[in-house]
């Protein structure tokens, strides 16, 4: 007879990688072996890749102002067209116990969300990187180079070369700053070509696909500018003429890439993704 239990580590990992985040955090308490296994980067990666392919782990993330309480709350719900009320979940916001006056969702990638909050009591502005499923969050350091008041837009992506999440902030003065989470501080990257200034009216956040951040420029409105997250090199993608005419009718966000970005921005993968700390 073969021995059913204890299970081989390989099989334990197969089973655990199919669990949602909450029981995983709980099961760290089962034994030293389980705690080590669940905390391993390899396991995190396995879990994240599984969640990426699992429709059920993708959710809408919505910020809403509670009328009576004068506070912002965040909710998530499934992407299914048949919405059941119990699937709508109010999220525990990262708040240090203080209510927010306003909250802006910039963008999402994997299980991470980049948000800005304006604190009610001490009137401070903070930008946070937040993992709703583990309820971890970190406050981003203030950017060093660009002016706070300058109009800007943000992107969040994963760099497989350095195995790190990176946040890009670009403003209208051609200034681009990158924050690699492992480094913990902002640094300037190559200025984008001056003619490729982003059209902020149509750019809520930068679209991250195929390892690059993308935006539509606001002068000719005929190109998409892409910045590779790994090499930090800019490339230009001309838009087909047909799309330009759509853009002229003030429907710029419906242009294919933007339409996708809209969904992209709202989808969070709620199953896993350890929020990386600094250092």
């Amino acid at each position: 007879m073969m021995h059913s239990v204890p299970l081989q580590e390989e099989i334990t990992m197969e089973i655990l990688s199919r669990l949602p985040v909450q029981p995983l955090l709980r099961f760290k308490c089962v034994s030293t072996c389980w705690m080590t296994l669940i905390s391993e980067p390899y396991f995190t990666l396995k879990h994240r890749n599984r969640a990426k392919n699992d429709q059920n782990s993708q959710k809408f993330l919505v910020s809403r102002k509670d009328l009576l309480e004068d506070e912002f709350s965040l909710y998530c719900s499934s992407l299914s067209s048949v919405q059941r009320i119990e699937e709508v979940q109010k999220l525990d916001c990262p708040s240090n116990g203080k209510p927010w006056r306003s909250c802006k969702l910039y963008c999402c990638y994997d299980s991470l969300v980049l948000i800005a909050v304006f604190n009610y009591c001490d009137k401070t502005n903070q930008r946070l990187l937040w993992n709703p499923s583990t309820r971890e969050s970190i406050v981003l350091p203030d950017q060093k180079f660009s002016l706070e008041r300058c109009w800007c837009t943000w992107g969040l992506g994963y760099d497989s070369v350095s195995d790190d999440y990176k946040i890009l902030k670009i403003d209208l003065e051609s200034c681009s700053e990158i924050l690699a989470l492992k480094s913990g501080s902002w640094r300037l990257t190559n200025n984008y070509p001056i003619g490729n200034r982003p059209d902020l009216l149509c750019t809520e956040s930068l679209v991250f696909v195929h390892g690059a951040f993308h935006w539509i420029d606001n002068i000719s409105r005929s190109t998409v500018t892409a910045l590779s997250i790994s090499s930090e090199v800019y490339t230009e993608i001309p838009l087909p003429e047909k799309m330009l005419s759509i853009y002229d009718h003030k429907c710029g966000r419906l242009v294919s890439v933007w339409q996708k970005s809209f969904v992209f921005m709202l989808i969070i993968r709620l199953k896993w993704g350890t929020l990386l700390g600094f250092g």
Binding site: M1, M2, S4, V5, P6, L7, Q8, E10, I11, E14, I15, L16, R18, L19, P20, Q22, P23, L25, R26, F27, K28, C29, V30, S31, T32, C33, W34, M35, D92, T134, R135
Partner: protein, 159 residues
């Protein structure tokens, strides 16, 4: 037909089309190593019967989609995993050894579904795991995410 032998010396004949869902046996056949009986020293006859039942049902997975038998297969799968813990783990170990991807998926997902809402104590008991964490270590994990240990859905029963 391919002959399989369990570790308690029982022989089973399985159609080649069914048995090649096992990557391991498929490779053996391709390498010409499956001319006589294939001994499976890690699998007992009770488990092997279950595995063969699955292989025979899933023999024509591709065809099922065409003929609208998907629901039938789904129902079979649901019934199939309706077994005790020990039995389920035996099938998982066998599926892992024989490298039958779909069966591994099905059984691991079933195991995960059963564990999902269990308390830490219940999991230890179900899987016969001895707790080797100190009280301080345990408290530290709880303090990191106390919300993961609370909730009406958490089930302390062992079944």
């Amino acid at each position: 037909m391919v002959k399989l032998k369990s570790n308690d010396d029982k022989e089973f004949e399985v159609e080649e089309a069914a048995v090649i869902q096992s990557e391991m046996i498929k490779n053996m056949i391709e390498d010409g190593c499956a001319t006589s009986v294939i001994p499976l020293p890690n699998i007992d006859s009770k488990t092997l019967i279950k595995v063969i039942e699955y292989l025979n049902k899933h023999i024509n997975m591709g065809k099922a989609a065409e003929t609208g038998e998907e629901d039938d297969l789904k129902e079979f799968d649901e019934q199939f995993v309706n077994m005790g813990w020990e039995e389920l783990f035996d099938v998982i170990m066998a599926a892992n050894y024989l490298n039958i991807h779909e069966l591994m998926e099905l059984c691991c997902q079933s195991a995960a579904d059963r564990l999902k809402n269990k308390s830490v104590r219940a999991v230890r008991e179900m899987l016969k795991i001895t707790n080797d964490l100190t009280e301080e270590e345990e408290q530290e994990i709880i303090n990191d995410a106390p919300w993961a240990f609370e909730g009406p859905e958490i089930d302390d029963t062992v079944n």
